[in-house]
């Protein structure tokens, strides 16, 4: 499934391009990839500015509890400190949960931010918007995802989309408000490319990179030629924006038919041993694919660990006995081990390939969880304080920014807000936030984010 928006592109006959393409064999979903390339077609990319670092964002949908992961409180009362024990790490004085033994060994490359907080609500979507855009907003005032911002300002480096989301977009997490994984006022051309399938599955294919069912590549090529001829007629009567679209459609066809591009998504090219190192599960294989895509030219890859919080093993440990029945058992047997394996594999793999210096890894989530265990032994939503972390690029590892109080209920020192984390990600990517502007609604230049980066991450 591809989500590029539903842009309506009229032809002079009154037939729109989409409906034209849906004639005959119908499902030309690959065509909508064109929208990704409008910026480059418009010549908006300054190649000097384009030399920025990459970013891989691991979004831990559901949100781990700070007490049970990266900000443990072993001296707090039992109903606060929880079930797990802390272990020492490669950084003296820094402890994390016992179920992250591999991460403990690479803490010298990780910067923990233990004083994140906001106070605008506690739904998953609130946190998703904050952490993926740096803003909270409603459906009438949407703000773009970080990957869309990067796509709009810097464009793609090659044939791959600048911003890709793996494996799927976030779906139902409780309310129908925006998740923050859209391009908003930047337009559908800069919406992320959503992989739309599980790379851990044996039958994995990127649906939108395959010719529509019933069509051979020959037919796709024939369709491209026909479209080119129609474009030629259009070009004589329509505006320059049409030209932008034409080029974009041409690039969409290239993505659809380019063997190199398709190979970027083929995990079978990776050694089996490396695939095992990441973990043969949806999150692990998505992390591996993120590395492949960055290596092959994508700028910003987001891995959603889950697409929902209902009826699956995820971090949202309400322990409600129903559809939100995640508990310590899920953390211990599934979630922590899978994260520990995949995150450290990604870090080490990037480093071994010389990519870590030019790739920022941001591990982010919606909020923290309540300091006191609820009556069922779970923890509920808690945006008043939590821990996320960054690594790679110019991020100075082995440090802890801010702290929470004795029971992990509020920032104790150096409070940090989501916009500051987003600003830090942009700065870590090498973007000068003082001089680089973003075309806002109506084309008016605006700042990337109205917040200062966290200076201690770079000092």
């Amino acid at each position: 499934m591809l989500h590029i928006g539903n842009e309506h592109i009229p032809l002079c006959s009154g037939t729109n391009r989409r409906s034209f393409l849906q004639l005959g064999a119908g499902a030309m979903t690959g065509m909508t990839l064109a929208n990704l390339y409008k910026l480059k077609a418009a010549g908006a990319v300054d190649e000097k500015k384009a030399r920025i670092r990459n970013c891989i964002t691991l979004f831990l949908v559901g949100s781990p509890g700070q007490h049970d992961t990266w900000d443990m409180k072993p001296d707090a009362p039992e109903d606060v400190r929880g079930k797990f024990k802390p272990i020492s790490t490669s950084v003296p004085g820094v402890q994390i949960c016992e179920h992250f033994p591999r991460m403990a060994k690479v803490m010298d490359r990780v910067a923990l931010i233990r004083s994140l907080h906001y106070n605008t609500g506690s739904s998953h979507e609130n946190g998703q918007r904050w952490m993926m855009t740096g803003h909270d907003f409603n459906a009438a005032n949407k703000q773009p995802h970080m990957g869309s911002v990067i796509s709009r300002v810097f464009g793609p480096k090659g044939d791959l989309p600048a911003s890709i989301v793996l494996p799927v977009g976030i779906g139902n997490t409780g309310t129908s408000t925006p998740h923050g994984q859209e391009s908003a006022f930047l337009g559908s051309a800069h919406a992320p490319f959503f992989l739309g399938s599980d790379p851990a599955r044996a039958d994995f294919k990127v649906a939108d990179l395959e010719p529509p069912k019933g069509q051979t590549e020959f037919r796709v090529e024939a369709r491209r030629k026909l479209l080119t001829e129609i474009d030629e007629v259009q070009r004589q009567v329509e505006t320059s924006s049409t030209l932008e679209r034409d080029t974009a459609y041409a690039r969409a066809f290239n993505l659809l038919t380019n063997p190199t591009t398709k190979k970027a998504f083929d995990l079978n090219e990776e050694p089996a041993k490396l695939r095992d190192r990441y973990g043969r599960n949806t999150f692990g294989q998505s992390c591996l694919m993120a590395r492949r895509l960055i290596e092959r030219g994508s700028r910003f890859v987001t891995v959603n660990q889950f697409d929902t919080v209902f009826g699956i093993s995820c971090w949202d440990m309400h322990a409600d006995g129903s559809s939100l029945n995640n508990t310590y058992a899920d953390y211990e047997h599934v979630l922590c081990p899978q994260f520990d394996l995949a995150f450290t594999a990604l870090l080490e793999d990037l480093q071994q390939r010389g990519l870590l210096e030019e790739t920022v890894i941001a591990v982010i989530s919606e909020f923290g969880r309540t300091p006191k265990l609820n009556a069922r032994g779970g923890r509920d939503h808690y945006p008043s304080v939590w821990t996320n972390f960054l690594a790679g690029g110019p991020i100075r590892g082995g440090r802890v920014i801010g702290s929470s109080d004795k029971i992990g209920a509020a920032p104790h020192d150096r409070p940090v807000t989501p916009p500051q984390v987003v600003a830090s990600i942009y700065q870590a990517m090498g973007i000068d936030l003082e001089t680089t502007m973003l075309p806002g609604p109506g084309g008016r230049p605006i700042r990337f984010i109205e917040a200062e980066p966290i200076r201690e991450l770079f000092a």
Binding site: P101, G279, R280, G311, V334, L341, G377
Partner: protein
């Protein structure tokens, strides 16, 4: 999208006295690993198997010990009223090794 863990992990074990060393795990699901220890046919311990490949069980009470490496097979998150997974469970991913004390 609930994850489906496909294939089956496996690892070989080598026994040296009471010390067990595992080889690389192929088809690693990423879920928790544990050493299941039995004595005279009865399970006496399930110990987290961390990144280190070697394990030596501390118990030296007389008997025949059998050790096998297990991994958690996530099938679904459903749990019973006691909080135990109903469909997901630990499965053996190695042949057992045994020694006698």
């Amino acid at each position: 999208m609930d994850q489906k863990l496909e294939g089956k992990p496996s690892a070989s074990l080598r026994l040296d006295g009471r010390k067990v060393t595992r080889g690389e795990i192929t088809n690693h699901w990423g879920t928790r690993l544990q050493w299941k220890v039995s004595r005279d046919g009865k399970e006496i311990a399930a110990v987290t198997a961390g990144p280190e490949p070697a394990f030596e069980h501390a118990d030296t009470a007389p008997g025949k010990y059998e050790i096998v490496l297990q991994q958690f097979h996530y099938v679904g998150y459903a749990k019973d009223k006691d909080g135990k997974f109903t469909t997901s469970k630990y499965v053996d991913i190695s042949e057992p090794v045994s020694y006698t004390v």
